[in-house]
């Protein structure tokens, strides 16, 4: 993301006073499209039973993944729930390692120990991939605590869904983060459904950005289908946290096109509703239109780009599938760091 905040070319788009170079717009577009095609491939591989367990896709939510990444520094911490493929791809982790993880291969990003729900990349400061709803929120607050403790100005971008926001751990975190002015941005990806339960059936206050009021945590609502708005508003929130003003809540209004997980036919919502978001508000189509209007690209170019990305994703899937499964000895790896060899349970053995 070397183009960040730099006017490297004359051409681009200016929105709300912020200039986005053509190069940067292309990078954002390509990453969103890459995530879309990657998730489609993952869905296909799941259908073929090559991916097991739970698998939560983020089709439709790509602008949130990419816009946030654009707004953050690589040294900022980021963590989310189990709907994590898009976020870790946007962070710049190796796609083959992500796909290999989905396939339970040795070269998976966590060595085949985690699968779809547990993507971690410490080098990229991506801390999961957390499987218990809301669990990552106190953890993200802890990363922010470490930033303040070390005074290293790193911001913790802690992401949850509209389902997770009803967990008690979230409010415990809001309170501590505000009390101690910790540099954390709490992002709520509001995709309208917590599994099969619509927001209005689960939340008395459906304006989730207001959920911090009791804790003096300011909140804003963002069109999560507009990657440029996401980038802009997230930049403001991150700056707020980095400057020592404490936490901020950013509610991203978004939508997932697929079910909650691969086993969810999503019968709790109408086809019309899905179509309305899909055809009317799709974040990729929206950016394409803006770029075509600005003369930065053409429909033909985008079609070619799509073909190229599909090919890339196929190659990634192929490479991941060609990898071996983890060695059986890996079963015993990484349980503890300081093994105590002469005490039971004995490291690396039964009995």
């Amino acid at each position: 993301m070397t183009t960040k905040n730099q006017k490297e070319s004359q051409t681009g788009i200016t929105q709300e006073g912020r200039f986005y170079s053509a190069e940067r717009l292309h990078a954002m577009h390509d990453m969103m499209l890459y995530i879309r095609r990657f998730e489609e491939k993952a869905g296909q591989m799941y259908g073929l039973k090559k991916i097991g367990g739970f698998c939560h896709l983020c089709n439709g939510q790509e602008a949130v993944c990419v816009g946030m990444e654009e707004a953050s520094e690589p040294t900022d911490y980021m963590m989310t729930s189990y709907r994590d493929h898009g976020h870790i791809l946007a962070r710049g982790s190796e796609p083959t390692a992500i796909m290999a993880e989905l396939l339970g291969r040795a070269g998976g990003i966590v060595g085949g120990k985690g699968g779809s729900m547990h993507m971690f990349d410490k080098e990229k400061n991506f801390a999961g991939g957390n499987g218990i709803v809301g669990e990552q929120v106190p953890i993200g607050t802890g990363f922010a605590f470490a930033s303040k403790y070390n005074d290293d100005k790193r911001v913790s971008i802690t992401i949850m869904g509209d389902g997770g926001v009803n967990q008690g751990a979230v409010y415990e975190s809001f309170n501590m983060a505000a009390l101690w002015k910790l540099p954390v941005v709490f992002v709520i990806e509001n995709n309208q459904y917590a599994m099969g339960t619509s927001l209005s059936r689960a939340s008395a206050e459906t304006h989730l950005y207001k959920r911090g009021i009791s804790f003096k945590v300011p909140g804003i609502q963002v069109d999560g289908m507009d990657v440029l708005e996401v980038e802009r508003k997230m930049s403001e929130a991150i700056e707020h946290a980095r400057s020592g003003k404490g936490p901020m809540i950013v509610e991203m209004m978004t939508y997932r096109y697929r079910g909650h997980s691969m086993s969810d036919p999503a019968t709790y919502r109408t086809r019309d509703e899905v179509d309305e978001w899909r055809s009317g508000r799709d974040p990729i189509v929206r950016l394409q239109k803006q770029m075509i209007e600005a003369g930065l690209s053409t429909e033909v170019d985008f079609k070619q780009k799509d073909k190229d990305i599909k090919k890339e994703v196929v190659a990634v899937a192929k490479a991941a599938e060609a990898q071996p499964e983890p060695d059986l000895s890996a079963l015993w790896d990484d349980i503890v760091t300081d093994e105590i060899p002469n005490a039971y349970p004995y490291p690396r053995q039964v009995g």
Partner: protein, 326 residues
């Protein structure tokens, strides 16, 4: 060696490690300005300041999780639970996050931290404040469980736990905080995973941890009067367990009683007696006996409470049974 209390020994261990390692901090309810609900952190706020000794709201799940994140980010948190009864609120972060983080991330993230606080039965506080949970945590891969029975062990084991690179469940005993004992001055470390023979004997092995070690020693004195020479083994670290020391003792005495304050079903005694059966069967001259807390929630009334807990008399009786002297 100076004679100090169990709580002062714990305090020394934390101060020693905080002076040594800038990454170590103490967080919990009332640890700073109040000097600790049990005064374990007495004077630490003055010594280290509010950056490193931090009072929290009453928010166990939140600050346990904050500790997990801080550990993942490179700090070495010591998270105090006022008592382990309240840690149940934080079980998700301990069990689902801390214990599994290293494994689930393919070794990328460590979780080097200590969760510590008072466990076991206190005095006259009824069901919700008098419980032993070591068997819960000892069941979980990724955790270590440490329980000191005297002031010297409290210092050496807590220091070792803070230096350990994994998540340590450090369970102190509420009734032991005022106990006085000789404790080495200066830096003192007891390696984890090492049992200690608290009394040498030849007729029967009494295996007991935490507060029950003291009960076992009292029982051994009574047994000596009756001509039975008991050996008392304190595992000190519950997980991983130094079974070699236990088995060596049983090989010598051929008889064993396991004592724990917690409930019998799937307890620590069940695990230890199973290990003796699996690996020391031929050494046994009698079935292993267990003395445990009664299978009831802790009652308030003094007589009922006393009856619910293991007693020295019960340990003596169990030892006499396994020695065919009952």
């Amino acid at each position: 060696m100076a004679k100090i209390t169990y709580r002062e020994a714990l305090n020394q261990a934390m101060c020693q490690e905080m002076e040594r390692d800038e990454r170590v901090f103490l967080m919990g309810e009332e640890v700073a300005e109040y000097n600790g609900a049990y005064k374990v952190s007495q004077g630490m706020l003055d010594k280290f300041g509010p950056r490193r000794v931090i009072d929290t709201p009453i928010t166990e799940l939140g600050f346990a999780g904050l500790g997990v994140g801080a550990a993942m980010a490179g700090l070495r948190p010591v998270i105090e639970f006022m008592t382990w009864n309240f840690a149940i609120l934080a079980a998700d972060q301990i069990v689902n996050a801390a214990a599994k983080m290293k494994y689930m991330t393919g070794g990328q993230y460590d979780c080097p931290m200590v969760f510590r606080g008072a466990g076991g039965a206190a005095a006259r506080v009824s069901s919700q404040h008098s419980q032993a949970f070591e068997n819960w945590y000892a069941n979980i891969p990724g955790l270590k469980v440490v329980m000191p029975s005297n002031p010297a062990d409290a210092k050496g084991l807590l220091a070792a736990s803070i230096r350990d690179n994994d998540t340590v469940i450090f369970i102190e005993n509420e009734m032991n905080y005022g106990d006085i004992g000789e404790v080495p001055e200066g830096e003192y470390i007891i390696p984890l995973g090492k049992a200690d023979i608290k009394r040498v004997g030849s007729d029967v092995t009494l295996i007991a941890h935490s507060r029950m070690t003291g009960y076992a020693l009292l029982a051994a004195e009574e047994l000596a009067k009756q001509g039975i020479d008991a050996e008392v083994v304190d595992p000190r670290t519950i997980r991983p367990l130094d079974e070699a020391t236990i088995l060596a003792s049983v090989a010598k005495t051929n008889r064993a009683v396991v004592i724990e304050e917690g409930w019998r079903f799937a307890g620590i005694g069940a695990e230890i007696s199973a290990r003796i059966m699996e690996k020391g069967f031929d050494d046994l001259d009698a079935p292993v006996a267990r003395v445990t807390g009664k299978d009831v929630p802790m009652p308030y009334a003094a007589n009922l409470e006393k009856h619910a807990l293991p007693s020295v008399a019960e340990i003596v009786e169990a030892a006499r049974v396994v020695c065919n002297r009952a």
